[in-house]
């Protein structure tokens, strides 16, 4: 993208915890304004640690993070939290005020805004997450999905330009998960907020990523979701998997369905199928020839690497 604004730039970032655990090594990356980026990597890969650098919670003289062209260490707190908002995984860790209103107002109050402005922001943030009438509720008594929304609203009220989310879909039931994903997509597409997300849920990943970084202490790979999921040895080395739909189309390819577009999600699959079938004058042949079985077992072996010995 020519002329795109650099939202986040990280250069040669390394970090070790005080007990000696090396969490990050020489991270280099650039994220442009308006992008949706997902960071994946196994448990303990340093994703959360990395996110703590993005808003300056970890102060690290050994590496530099620029936010919209300014060094994060030079930004004042109020400026910084206006640029980058981080939503952590466990909503209970983020809701510590007696009411939903207070929790959502917490950030704006710390930014020194006046009362009117604070109230306006709280209403706006709560309506974004669909919890307009919850202001007076006690966060502790909400359902898990609702708590996650309040935690998000509490960051949205600071109106950050970059939104960082650590495992947004964990522990949610399927409906709440789908709702939450849509909410994030809307924030990105409608409000133009740059989103950076860490997650393990590969089936939800494609909807949330224009670009994927694979992190395992260092940046192991970078690319579109399609590129990342096509590289099965990369997946294997980093304890990852490809979405089921993607794997299935790999198999369909073996059966003679030929399309270079491999879909990553159910919706995309339907669209691609329709397009392909229409493009081939209304029909597709699936058939078995002599190499098919071999090809299929190759695909299975590459992608089901975590199930070795089970087939």
């Amino acid at each position: 993208m020519i002329g795109a604004v650099e939202a986040i730039r990280v250069k040669g970032l390394s970090y070790s915890y005080s007990d000696g655990t090396k969490a990050l090594e020489d991270i280099d990356l650039t994220i442009n304004e308006g992008e949706k980026v997902v960071v994946v990597g196994p448990n303990g890969a340093g994703k959360t640690t990395f996110f703590l650098h993005l808003n300056g919670t970890i102060k690290n003289p050994g590496g530099d993070v620029w936010v919209f062209g300014k060094k994060i260490s030079d930004l004042k707190i109020e400026e910084r939290i206006h640029q980058v908002g981080v939503v952590f995984q466990d909503p209970d860790d983020q809701l510590f005020m007696p009411t939903v209103f207070d929790d959502v107002a917490f950030g704006p109050v710390n930014m020194g805004l006046d009362e009117k402005e604070v109230e306006m922001r709280v209403h706006k943030a709560l309506s974004k997450v669909g919890l307009e009438d919850f202001e007076e509720k006690v966060p502790h008594n909400l359902s898990y999905g609702q708590k996650k929304r309040v935690a998000l609203a509490a960051v949205l009220s600071m109106e950050p330009r970059v939104l960082v989310l650590d495992e947004p879909t964990a522990n949610l039931d399927p409906k709440s998960r789908a709702d939450f994903i849509n909410l994030i997509i809307d924030l990105n597409e409608i409000d133009g907020i740059t989103t950076i997300i860490a997650m393990h849920d590969v089936n939800a990943l494609p909807a949330l990523a224009d670009r994927v970084y694979v992190l395992n202490k260092r940046v192991v790979a970078e690319g579109s979701p399609r590129e990342i999921f096509s590289d099965w040895s990369l997946l294997k080395e980093n304890s990852l998997e490809a979405p089921d739909v993607f794997k299935l189309f790999k198999v369909l390819n073996c059966f003679g369905y030929s399309s270079d577009d491999l879909p990553l999600s159910f919706d995309e699959a339907v669209e691609i199928l329709t397009r392909t079938i229409e493009g081939t004058e209304g029909h597709i042949h699936l058939h078995i020839h002599e190499h098919t079985h071999k090809e299929i077992s190759d695909v299975m072996n590459s992608y089901n690497h975590h199930r070795n010995g089970k087939e």
Binding site: E78, M97, P98
Partner: protein, 255 residues
């Protein structure tokens, strides 16, 4: 926030590391009590040197040990400044009418030396045994089971709650909060603390459920394998001997 990792060097090897944990607890505790009640500064100093000798024998990294020992020194250091002025006694110096007494100086030094000896011994005792084994040794020493279990579970959950607390703290800092000693800061801190208390309280129920699921009925449930060897008997006899000797010697000395 740091984990309280007192036993980071417990897997090293030294005569102190090999000392049976029960015997270690008994003899070190006696030594501590003995050195703490010495009234004669020279004997106290000997006690401290003895403690330091054991520290050297234990091969614990000095940086690790000193970092923890010096806390006591900082804590008691003000005594050294205050007591020479407040305690009456032989005057060594007179600065514009304020008399600095020798007795006060000696007394403050005595307190600090005794404290240093005690903390050094306590540190060696804990740092040379894995903490879980120390707790089991307490149980083997017939400390009431209820207390031992409370120590054990509290120790375990300190780590869990420390993590939880750090995460909450991080998320507050992300929203621009800094703890200052003003009303707003403290009452927000009260909220976090309240949240920690509520979360821990909810956890107590879940932990209890999972304990009951494993047949828990309130009794301690660990296997303890500890064997005293001849060396352990000799070593503990020596230490107990020193603990007693110090006071006998002091009695004779002062008489």
């Amino acid at each position: 926030m740091e984990y309280p990792e007192i036993d980071a060097y417990a897997s090293m090897d030294s005569p102190i590391h090999r000392f049976d944990p029960r015997a270690k607890i008994v003899s070190f505790t006696l030594l501590i009590f003995s050195f703490v009640f010495v009234n004669e500064i020279r004997i106290a100093l000997l006690g401290f040197l003895f403690s330091f000798l054991i520290l050297l024998i234990s091969r614990l990294p000095l940086a690790f040990a000193l970092k923890r020992i010096r806390m006591v020194f900082f804590f008691l250091f003000p005594l050294l400044l205050v007591m020479p002025l407040t305690v009456e006694g032989r005057e060594v110096l007179n600065i514009t009418g304020i008399s600095v007494s020798f007795d006060g100086l000696i007394f403050a030094s005595l307190i600090i030396i005794r404290a240093l000896a005690a903390v050094t011994l306590a540190l060696i005792m804990l740092a040379t045994t894995r903490f879980d084994i120390t707790i089991k040794a307490l149980y083997a020493l017939k400390v009431p089971g209820t207390l031992v279990q409370m120590l054990m579970f509290t120790y375990r959950y300190i780590f869990v709650i420390t993590d939880e607390f750090s995460r909450m703290w991080e998320s507050m800092e992300c929203k621009g909060f800094r703890l200052k000693a003003n009303y707003h800061g403290l009452s927000i801190f009260g909220n976090i603390l309240g949240m920690i208390i509520i979360k821990s309280y909810d956890r107590t129920r879940r932990v209890y459920e999972s304990m009951v699921a494993k047949g828990y009925s309130g009794k301690p449930n660990t296997l303890v394998h500890l064997h005293m060897s001849t060396k352990d008997y000799v070593l503990s006899t020596c230490m107990v001997g020193i603990a007693i000797f110090v006071h006998v010697y002091q009695l004779m000395f002062t008489v």
